[in-house]
Amino acid sequence: MIKHVPVLLVAIPLVVAFMLPIIGMVNRTIRTITAGVAIVIIMVLSYLLIQDVMICKKIFYYMVGSPDPTALFEHGLTFPIRIALKIDQFSLLFIIMATTLSFLFYLFSSQYIEENERKNYFTVLYVCMVAGMMGMLIANDLFTFFVFLEILSISSSALVSFRTERKHPPYAGYKYMFVSSIATSFFLLGIAFLYAQYGSFNIDYLKKVMDGTVLDKIAIVMLILPLAMKCGVVPMHMWIPDTYSEAPAPISSMVKLGSLICLYGLFRIAFTFGSHVYVSYELGILFILFGVLSMFVGVTQALIQKDVKRLMAFHAVSQVGYMLLGVGVGLSVIKSGDASFAIYGKIAMIGGLFHVINNALYKGLLFLTSGIMVRHYKTRDLNVMHGLAHYDKFTALVFMIAALAISGIPPLNGFVSKLIIYESVFHYNPLLTLIAIFVSVLTLASFMKVFYSAFLGMPPERKPVEQPILVKFSMVILSIIIVAIGLFPQGIIKLLIEPAVNALATF
């Protein structure tokens, strides 16, 4: 049965999502529990794979609909004819991250979003979003990747405009959909250029037959730019602030998670095709450029914001820069001779990927706390907020943990990954490290501003409402994970990150 796990990761959320409208007509509590159970099942399935994939270095292939699903080719052919799914160390890292976090965010949203008939559709779209993420992570086929990218973007866009009765959310959803449609059109163009030459969509097969023609280079640009657009790196970041600030709090976290999944696609395509078309050095430089720009522009924009969610959104842009910087350094030295790669390129990649996980954790937690803040003050303006810590010590503590983690203060997880990035990038170019440290200091400054204005000062006029139990529970779990990773980073690096980096480097 374990050989079917790749397809079950997508099929279980989908089958539950298809039946949720019917279940929702019958009973709403059962509907909420069913959706939660589906996410728990795929979470457990992804944990079951750790032993096989991460420790025994086994790679799961699955040909959907084939008489022998684990065989790569049928009938003695030399090319795959069906849709291939693949779970290797790199994708399993992201699968574990995505399933765990979407479960925690689901717990938060199940009591945070008010209960009415629209919540049926909310749950359906949420589960579909999880399925879209899973599909992108396991796809070994460019067109399947495209289809699930569409699933992810359409369901995110609908959820971003969930609060239709307010003035701005529909336009934010429109903007997000606009950007994703342009991105997916370009992605399809890249697929078309590759198909025109090699007659296949399978990533592994394409890697094998690619020989670096002009069309290949154009196709790679067309595949990488849209994904960079969906991650929100700086020249294409105009949609991020609106989307993240207008969405409900759990959806902001989920959209952030989705953009990290697009980052997965970006890394995978860059590493798979880059070295075979002889552009990995250029791509690495491009990533570093994007990364530095994103870090700098994101944080300087964030400093001047008065709106708490917009501020966090700009920090999301800036944090993506760190990951691109770490992985870009690794990509640019991967083919320059093994010595320099072994010295700092690999460590930079470990830092970059570790930062992805840490970022998803504390950024999600920050968005969740911002949701509680906004719900209490009925506004997102920092100048109006004051003194929530007098009554709600829990939220203050949780926000403190997340804010310190994002600024890279020692006992927490952000510090570890940032330190790894600083150390390794320093060997590559000391200037980049200086910029990164400077950005980190600015991050601390802007979050101190938020903490000061939202939690300290005069007590607020009215007492905050007590948060429901699941809301608190999910936030507690996230904070515990953040502190635990910060205290014992070696375990998770050895178990998850290093195999992922090795798999990525040998793509």
Binding site: H4, A11, L14, V15, A17, F18, M19, P21, I22, Y62, M63, V64, G65, S66, P67, P69, H75, G76, L77, T78, F79, I81, R82, I83, E117, R118, Y121, F122, V124, L125, C128, G135, T144, V147, F148, E150, I151, I154, S155, S157, A158, S161, F162, T164, E165, P170, L189, F193, Y195, A196, Q197, Y198, G199, V209, D211, T213, V214, L215, I218, M222
Partner: protein
């Protein structure tokens, strides 16, 4: 800012133009010189097949029992993409229902329950309604034909479903029937979920071998009729799970698209847009 956009578009234009100059000429075989081959005549074999499409053309008919190779790709070889595509449609139907939920509760001037004088447009001629009804039946039967014969002649679930949904559009503009909005929504939503559940259920039914495996073909079952290679009139009862998947997708697309149309049409008549 405009200047930057123009420069960006011109750069993209240049990229694509360089790209098409390097492509193969229209009508020639796909491929770069390493994979280019002299195309042998059609036949059942896997010898000398170097690209995916050639395999489908040679073996698709015998392997799946479907005369329409496009249908065999859509529902068999790349069935997983089709599942994703059906999911996209499902998501959009759910989103539209979610976004326009407040509209659905209020009365609409396009619904038949509102007095005739406030309708838009005011004229509702007997000729139009009767003609539309005739057309409705004809379009619907054409759509059902397309769905059922998807594996024999051009057509299939998506095409048939969309043709049937355009019949719904015709019915809407001639009859203005959105009076029982809540009930309509529930029924349509139920059938849409039912179609999708049949689709994914067929997928799970083959999971003893693999997900979406065509377990009904090449068997002794009713739908496992062996189709010989080459031109033939085709059999309706063949091709394994293809007709079932086609039917499921047809149901899903028809009810899903109709629900989108009905919802938007109803919402367009709500006066004080809540």
């Amino acid at each position: 800012m405009r200047l930057i956009s123009v420069v960006a578009i011109v750069v993209i234009f240049g990229f694509i133009f360089v790209g098409i100059l390097h492509l193969h000429p229209i009508g020639e075989p796909v491929g770069n010189p390493r994979i280019l081959y002299e195309r042998p005549p059609l036949g059942i074999d896997t010898q000398g097949v170097t690209i995916m499409d050639d395999y489908f053309l040679r073996n698709g008919q015998v392997e799946t029992g479907s005369n329409n190779i496009v249908a065999s790709i859509v529902f068999d070889y790349r069935g997983f993409d089709t599942l994703g595509e059906a999911t996209v449609l499902f998501i959009v139907v759910s989103s539209i229902s979610m976004l326009f939920f407040t509209f659905l509760k209020s009365k609409s001037i396009v619904s038949a329950g509102v007095p005739r004088a406030r309708q838009f447009p005011r004229i509702e001629s007997r000729i139009i309604t009767f003609g539309a009804f005739l057309m409705y039946i004809m379009i619907l039967s054409f759509g059902i034909y397309l769905v059922v014969h998807g594996h024999v002649s051009p057509g299939g679930g998506f095409q048939g479903g969309s043709v049937m949904a355009s019949a719904t559009a015709l019915l809407l503009i001639s009859f203005y029937i959105t009076r029982h909005m809540q009930r309509t929504r529930k029924i349509f939503s139920f059938f849409e979920s039912l179609g999708l559940t049949i689709f994914i259920g067929m997928g799970f039914a083959g999971i003893g071998i693999s997900f979406l495996y065509n377990f009904l073909a090449h068997g002794t079952t009713v739908f496992g009729k062996i189709i010989p290679f080459g031109p033939n009139p085709g059999y309706l009862i063949s091709a394994g799970i293809l007709p079932w998947l086609s039917l499921a997708v047809g149901i899903e697309v028809f009810f899903g698209l109709s629900l989108i149309l009905v919802t938007l049409f109803h919402a367009s008549g709500v006066k004080n847009n809540l």
